[in-house]
């Protein structure tokens, strides 16, 4: 016990450098997003009017604070473009997370049922695509889905369709791309909880007369809920802000909020509005982020 206490001290110091790094490059930047989100649009380089400058002294800073404007946020609420993309992001994220759960669960379940030495191989096979560039995986789908791509060629050759079907630039293509890219994120936490389940519990359920189906719904599924939670959050949160997949696979119709942010920033060069969009997106994500944070800390630190 005393050994532990002596030990704790240098270990604590180990955290100093990464702590400072994260404050500097993760926390502080949000201050700048907030600051610019509250400033006014201007056509200049950088394209916004800085509202305060700490070097000008306390008086000037105080005067600047009085001027902080919420105009950009009012704009977000008054313009349909932002509200639509906000809602579309939510719809896309909820729908694809549900599809992911429906597809991912049976796969993770199948993995957990394999003999021990096969489980490692199966897990490796699921992780490998996650390590392979996701841009490349999206590009692979463009190859297949395009007008004269493999899918249309096969369908035409089998006489299932008489003319090429438009697959690319549709919502279905976008959902396919999202599900494809995020599948490992859903499978891995599910597998982690399913593999840890004590088989004796199922045997007990069987001995007590439960059919395999009943045993699954009464024992396995409820016990796998922490994994379901982790997988759902791990997919839902980044999908809300997804940019590359809808940009490459979805049509030019309504945009997701990540695309709107990108457009405001890179095309319209309206930094204040882009910052305001980022803040709005962040506010939307705070509850699931907090939830994920709690879940993570419980599982990781619980192990220690």
């Amino acid at each position: 016990m005393s050994g532990r206490r002596i030990f704790a001290r240098p270990a604590r110091y180990a955290a100093i450098a990464p702590y400072v790094w994260m404050v500097l490059f993760f926390l502080v930047p949000f201050g700048f997003v907030l600051k610019i989100g509250l400033s006014q649009t201007a056509i200049a380089q950088p394209p916004y009017l800085p509202l305060f400058d700490l070097t000008e002294g306390w008086g000037a800073t105080k005067a600047a604070f009085a001027q902080l404007s919420l105009d950009n946020f009012r704009l977000l609420l008054s313009d349909n473009l932002y509200i639509t993309s906000y809602l579309r992001s939510l719809v896309v994220a909820v729908t694809s997370t549900l599809i992911l759960l429906l597809i991912g669960y049976p796969i993770a379940y199948g993995m957990a049922r394999l003999p021990r030495r096969w489980q490692g191989i199966a897990m490796m096979l699921v992780i490998v695509p996650f390590w392979t560039s996701f841009l490349i995986r999206i590009y692979a789908w463009i190859n297949i889905l395009q007008h004269d791509g493999l899918l249309n060629q096969i369908l035409l050759a089998l006489h299932l369709v008489s003319a090429p079907v438009v697959w690319l630039s549709t919502d279905s293509a976008m959902y396919l791309g999202i599900v494809y890219s995020y599948l490992p994120f859903m499978i891995l936490p599910l597998y982690a909880t399913l593999a840890k389940l004590d088989p004796a519990l199922l045997e007990a359920a069987g001995d007590l007369g439960a059919s395999p189906r009943a045993a699954f719904w009464l024992v396995t599924f409820p016990l796998s809920l922490p994994g379901v939670g982790a997988g759902v959050l791990l997919c839902f949160i980044p999908i809300v802000g997804e940019f590359v997949i809808p940009d490459l696979l979805a049509g030019s119709g309504s945009m997701m909020i990540g695309q709107t942010l990108w457009l405001e920033f890179f095309t319209n060069r309206d930094w204040p509005v882009a910052s305001a969009v980022a803040i709005a997106l962040l506010i939307l994500l705070v509850p699931p982020l907090l939830l994920y944070d709690r879940l993570q800390r419980r599982t990781l630190e619980g192990a220690g």
Binding site: F7, P18, Y19, W21, F25, M124, T132, A303
Partner: protein, 271 residues
């Protein structure tokens, strides 16, 4: 009776096989088509290395690839150092001020949309008047990937038996000495796996790099992305295949490292 509940069913095998086919088929098709001689992506014109030649004559693509490799190597190394320290602090540091904030900061980037991290870092760099290019992308990637390293090393460290280190200290080791002599060798494979994960994540990123890079220093994914937006080009198939092959080598090394890790852990700490 009990057997029946626990048995692997045909349903299990089918869903697993379909899932893996779904994950791999597109990649396999891409690799095959990268050897297609025809300019038309859809017409099979026989096997050829034509598009690989094209890549090695494309100055802009080669520069982007070199930039990506440098960014990935430097950011992965710094991220591994910081991420390992963070993991040690979190697992062995007990309580310290701001610990909750610290671990929240480390978990958030794992899931947070990249557009937010990218935008916020860019605004920081603009405010600091930093010239955007190699270093800004490297710092951005370090920030993102050190969180992944932390998680990998942390879970390994948390599963280690702490009494090993306490024994070393009882035998007269100073705490730091005990850590370096006993614990560090046991977590080296996790650290190596963390480095490789950070390396491939950096090699993969489009969004954060787009925000934090300057003119004339595009990374490979940024180049590929702008080409892909303009339509499918067979040269991209070749580049993608090479990236896949490269990452496959890295993965094989990583799996070797983790195998080493588990066998070493078993021999050192029989549970």
């Amino acid at each position: 009776m009990a057997r029946r509940v626990n048995q692997i069913s045909r349903f299990n095998v089918t869903s697993l096989a379909l899932g893996l086919a779904f994950l791999y088929l597109p990649i396999v098709i891409l690799v095959i088509y990268s050897f297609n001689a025809s300019r038309l992506v859809t017409v099979w014109g026989g096997w050829s290395l034509r598009w690989y030649h094209e890549f090695f004559n494309d100055r802009a693509m080669l520069d982007a690839a070199w930039m990506s490799l440098r960014v990935a190597a430097v950011s992965a190394t710094v991220a591994t150092l910081l991420g390992t320290l963070a993991a040690v602090g979190l697992v062995r540091g007990e309580r310290f001020g701001g610990r909750a904030l610290f671990s929240s900061m480390l978990y958030s980037p794992l899931v947070m949309p990249e557009v937010i991290s990218g935008l916020s870092l860019l605004l920081l760099f603009v405010a600091l008047n930093a010239e955007r290019g190699f270093w800004t992308v490297t710092i951005a990637h370090t920030t993102l990937t050190m969180c992944f390293v932390t998680v990998v090393v942390q879970s390994r460290l948390a599963s280690l038996d702490r009494s090993l280190e306490e024994a070393a200290m009882d035998l007269g080791c100073a705490p730091v000495q005990a850590f370096l002599a006993v614990t560090l060798p046991l977590i080296v494979p996790a650290i190596a796996a963390g480095w490789m994960l950070a390396f491939t994540l950096s090699l993969d990123d489009v969004v954060i790099a787009s925000f934090t890079t300057g003119p004339g220093s595009a990374t490979l994914p940024i180049r590929i992305y702008s080409e892909v937006r303009l339509g499918v080009k067979p040269e991209i198939n070749a580049i993608c295949t090479m990236v896949i092959a490269f990452i496959a080598v890295v993965i094989v090394m990583a799996s070797f490292a983790s195998k080493l890790s588990s066998s070493q852990a078993e021999s050192a700490a029989p549970l």
